[in-house]
Amino acid sequence: MPALNKLFDQYNDRVAFLAVYISEAHPSDIWQMESNIRDKVVFASPKNQEERAEIATTCVRRLGLKFPSVLDEFGNSTERAYTGWPDRIYLIDSAGKIAYKSKAGPFGFKPEELAAALSRLPSRIGHVGISNF
């Protein structure tokens, strides 16, 4: 996450960042991970949207994300549309087309690939113009 915050700092003026909070990958009642017990991150699966919102609030605070986050609805429609679980990164260009799609996490979650994709975005006139110097 620090890597993503760093990219946010770098591109904040021309790219919007949005975290989409989806189903927990390892809730305690389904597939608990030892590493999460060690880190004291133990959550049962939320039973409804309110519970999910509560967990999301805690998590977003602990993750220390600098950019806004939204909560997928309880039917996980957005996760399903984007195959976002357990984690995944997309870059959508200003025409609304997908410019970068990471492979599925955890293996494919690579902020450095996003960094490369961001650097390939066409720079907007005025941002790297002479006026900046």
């Binding site: 989806i22 597939w31 998590c59 549309a81 870059l91 959508i92």
Partner: protein, 121 residues
């Protein structure tokens, strides 16, 4: 004397044939078990997160990770329907801090958007 030798020889041959048949049977059985279990894990990878999580919980320790090319299967199972150049599906979702919804298409009007899907665990 000679007859006895021939009989002993064919008994030995019969015995080694039995062993070979047994080994071949064992190999085929193990292969079938290995492939069907792998097929089951691959099927589970295509299911919703809760179903996949429940399946993985029942598989002891790192078995699935050690016996199968887990990462390759996972990346293939979770490749998803969207491709580079596709129109990003629109959504409108409530902010975690409950200050109203954000609509992707509205956010995307003026600028590119990075979407980070994830949770905490």
């Amino acid at each position: 004397m000679k007859n006895n030798d021939i009989m002993a020889g064919s008994r030995r041959q019969a015995k080694s044939r039995r062993i070979l048949r047994f080994l071949a049977g064992l190999f085929i059985t193990l292969a079938v078990v290995y492939l069907s279990f792998g097929g089951f894990v691959f099927w589970a990878m295509h299911q919703p997160p809760e179903v996949f999580g429940r399946v993985m919980k029942r598989i002891p320790g790192p078995v699935a990770f050690l016996l199968y090319p887990f990462e390759t299967l996972w990346l293939r199972a979770r490749v998803g329907a969207l491709n580079i150049g596709d129109t990003a599906p629109d959504f409108s979702l409530e902010r975690v801090n409950k200050t109203g919804p954000i609509q992707l298409s509205a956010l995307n009007k003026q600028q590119p958007v990075v979407l980070v899907f994830g949770s905490y665990t």
